[in-house]
């Protein structure tokens, strides 16, 4: 039997964040460390998550994309400024703050050139995901798709964790994007 799923508007942003967190955990394999970290004045992160090689600062757009982008960047700045403080608060076994950080932004929509804009304007690594919540508010389904344009192929953001360890430069905090860009610049 064919089933039609209609998009649903959920007014409660905390509910949307919980749904997205479930997808981050089950769909992307991340471990959620904290929700709503930071503060609204100097920057906040909706979800702090980790995997084996990275720390993810997740921003979920539940309103205007411009607000979410600004929120993601101020949250990133807050994270960089407070990393030492966070390292004292959390156990190293829980989260290793020497790992490189990556921004994740989930939004119902993005402008067409967003990847190219961010690539030229940001030094930080970013992954963008478009989401749609379907079904009903009480029984929602989420559909998530990674936004990837031809000028920023997924393959470029390969993991350089092993290389940085081998060279003893983990503490320099080079992002995969930065390393990838460096290698391309040297090969040019």
């Amino acid at each position: 039997m064919m089933r039609f799923l209609k998009p649903v508007n959920i007014a409660d942003s905390a509910h949307i964040i919980r749904i997205c967190a479930q997808w981050l955990s089950q769909g992307l394999g991340l471990r959620i460390v904290e929700y709503r970290i930071g503060n609204s004045f100097t920057g906040s992160i909706d979800i702090l998550a980790v995997d084996k090689g990275k720390i993810y600062l997740v921003t979920i757009n539940t309103g205007k994309l411009s607000d979410a982008l600004l929120g993601a960047l101020t949250g990133y700045r807050w994270y960089l400024e407070n990393r030492e403080f966070l390292a004292r608060v959390y156990q190293p076994s829980e989260i290793d703050f020497t790992l490189p950080a990556m921004l994740i932004i989930l939004s119902p929509s993005f402008p067409a050139e967003i990847n190219s804009i961010l690539q030229h304007g940001l030094k930080a690594d970013v992954r963008l995901f478009q989401y749609v919540i379907l079904g009903s508010e009480n029984d929602p389904d989420i559909y998530v798709e990674e936004i990837c344009t031809s000028d920023a192929p997924q393959g470029v953001t390969q993991s350089f964790e092993g290389l940085t360890q081998e060279l003893g430069i983990e503490k320099a905090g080079l992002t995969d994007g930065e390393i990838s860009e460096f290698l391309m610049a040297m090969r040019a």
Binding site: K123, L163, T164, L167, G168, I169, K171, A172, G173, L174, E178, I179, E181, F182, L183, A185, M186, R187, A188
Partner: protein
């Protein structure tokens, strides 16, 4: 009583040879370039090889002394073979009363003091010297402090920043990435520190200027900062022999491309401290 020279006649000859073409200004004039207490600290980093790093420090110390600058070397190396006291053993005078202070005194040149810091940090408290100890080198009166760091990024991140850094790197992709990582950490640690790059190029590759241009552009674009290129250091058998003989390369006799290049690199590094006519 007149102080007897500590060096034998042979070493005096070496130092006369070494002094050829050196500045004729006296030690007082050289020191006068510095305001009292205004030392310049230079840290030399070679992530790929502690031996090359220490050897570079030894040679640059002698070049500075040749230009009549008093020098203190702070040696943080934890590897015995890459310690300055090992690499300069042939010209070293050890203070008999202390184990961590040695010095090099060549005829007519200011003393080069070596502080063997080992794995301890710059800020570590030490026991006060005994009554018989040789007077601690007055750092306020030194022109240059050369730092031979331990082989780790932690050193740059944790220790007091230096005024200048020399990063020695090979020209393959991975070494350049390592060099970039060091420069990034140096820049994050201290915005005002100057960074110089030297290519350790065993084969003396011809496209090194182009390689540095790429590296420099990347550094400028990503760190908004300019690094300086001092040149490429080729290797010849004299370099290996200087390490085996525990005598710095600039003191070795005989024609050597490495020695000439090293002298040129040191001169470029010292531009601004010495007159241009002395550089040639």
């Amino acid at each position: 009583m007149k102080e007897r020279p500590k060096l034998g006649r042979g070493l005096q000859d070496v130092s006369r040879f070494f002094l050829t073409g050196a500045s004729q200004q006296g030690p007082d004039q050289a020191q006068a370039l510095f305001v009292h207490g205004d030392n310049r600290s230079i840290c030399v980093c070679c992530p790929a090889s502690e031996m090359i790093q220490a050897s570079f420090v030894a040679n640059i110390a002698l070049e500075l002394a040749r230009h009549r600058f008093p020098v203190i070397i702070r040696d943080f190396s934890v590897t015995e073979e890459a310690r300055l006291s090992t690499l300069m053993h042939a010209v070293l005078c050890q203070d008999e009363r202390t184990t961590d202070k040695a010095f090099v005194k060549l005829y007519g040149l200011p003393e080069i003091a070596i502080q063997d810091k080992g794995p301890q940090g710059l800020t570590e408290e030490r026991e006060p010297p005994g009554p018989d100890a040789r007077p601690v080198v007055d750092e306020d009166s030194a022109g240059f402090i050369l730092v031979n760091p331990s082989a780790s990024l932690d050193f740059i991140q944790e220790e007091k920043p230096c005024d200048e850094y020399v990063v020695i790197t090979r020209t393959d992709e991975r070494s350049l990435l390592q060099c970039y990582a060091y420069i990034k950490v140096i820049h994050e640690r201290s915005f005002s520190s100057k960074v110089h790059v030297v290519f350790d190029d065993e084969d003396a590759g011809s496209n090194n200027d182009a390689v540095f241009k790429k590296l420099s552009r990347f550094i400028h674009d990503h760190l908004e900062f300019t690094a300086d290129f001092l040149g490429s250091l080729p290797r010849d058998e004299h370099f290996e022999r200087s390490i085996t003989n525990q005598r710095p390369l600039v003191l070795m006799s005989g024609a050597s491309v490495t020695k000439d290049t090293l002298t040129r690199i040191c001169s470029r590094l010292l531009e601004g401290y010495c007159g241009q006519e002395e550089m040639i």
